[in-house]
Amino acid sequence: MEGRPLDDLALVERARTGDVNAYEALVQQYQQLAYRVAYQVTGDAADAEDAAQEAFVNAYYALGRFRAGAPFKPWLCQIVANEARNRRMAAHRRTALAERAHRAHASGEAAPSPEAAAEADEFRATLVATLGRLRDDDRLILSYRLFFDFSEADMAQALKVPKGTVKSRLSRALARLRAALPADFQLASGGTVNG
């Protein structure tokens, strides 16, 4: 999912001059990330698709204001998250987010046994549902860091916050996730929490 910085720079520069093919290449490179960021906010596939598509279009028309040489990924994610927030607020779908997350089926990982698979599914479902109950900002910062492996600088730009506050915000998000976990939550390894 991660782009290659040098390719990004070249593609962005070409796109700024009106090269549609270059921008289409950028879209293909980042559409999965953009869609997943949007989905983390909206919790709805259709809304996430609309938000990501709208964000790519808006980003294209905003390329004139894009600072030359800056990383494209966090700039794009900032636009995607804003667009996704707008759509979710309009649809008032926040309460349905957790339910949809519960219904979501796990990916087809190979499991050693039916019992272990059931345990892993339960672990994922609980964690996904708990994430769904968090605030957007908490869910986004946890996703950027732990799902999409953003650097602190990229997180700061994507969240539009000072770089020095990223660690504390991440720590507070983890604390709120911890507080929201059900009492019977068990780690995926099978061991109970801290004995």
């Binding site: 549609v20 879209v27 559409q31 790519f56 294209y60 946890l142 911890r178 995926a188 109970t192």
Partner: protein, 207 residues
Amino acid sequence: MADPQRLTDVELERALRELGPSYPYPPTPNLAAAVRRRIVARPPAPVRRLPLWRDPMRLAIAAVVVLVLAGAAALINPTSRDAIAHFFHVRGVIVNRVSPGPSVSSVTPLNLGQRTTLTDAQSAVSFTIAVPTDLGPPDAVYVDREVPGGEVVLAYTSRPGIPLVPQTNLGVLVTEFRGDLIPGFLTKEADGPGDTRFTITPRKWKK
């Protein structure tokens, strides 16, 4: 039952990292084609440049250009250049500009005496005036009778091999007077016991 509130940040982060690859996202739709259709249908408007006073980068560049031009203008003017060099204590050659001094068109500012002829000068002094044969007759002769025995000045303008001195407009100035010295007045002392005395024979001096 375990208490999830005792989970550490590290354990929670590990749990989330393990969840990441299997997070139940819906399949990613192909956005590229739709985005391309939309941006081809509506090409971006030409980038409208911000006014200069609202564009920090252009404002900074304009300020630098103005400063450079002002500095260059100040350095072109010699007076302001010297003032700037003095202000910053720049060491080196300091040129003090003064109004041109008075031109010396004659030898009279030298206060050589009264202008006269060589014949009249000879009658006014107590010694025989010597005229340098290589220089020939002087261009001007002055006599000063207030000097005991009289003083004669022979003035020459430039000659081949003798450049003109701009300050005096002269090439050579020969002053003649009688110099009588008191024997023993002029001594030269040397270190060590006793004095070494030089006897000066009175004679005519030229300078």
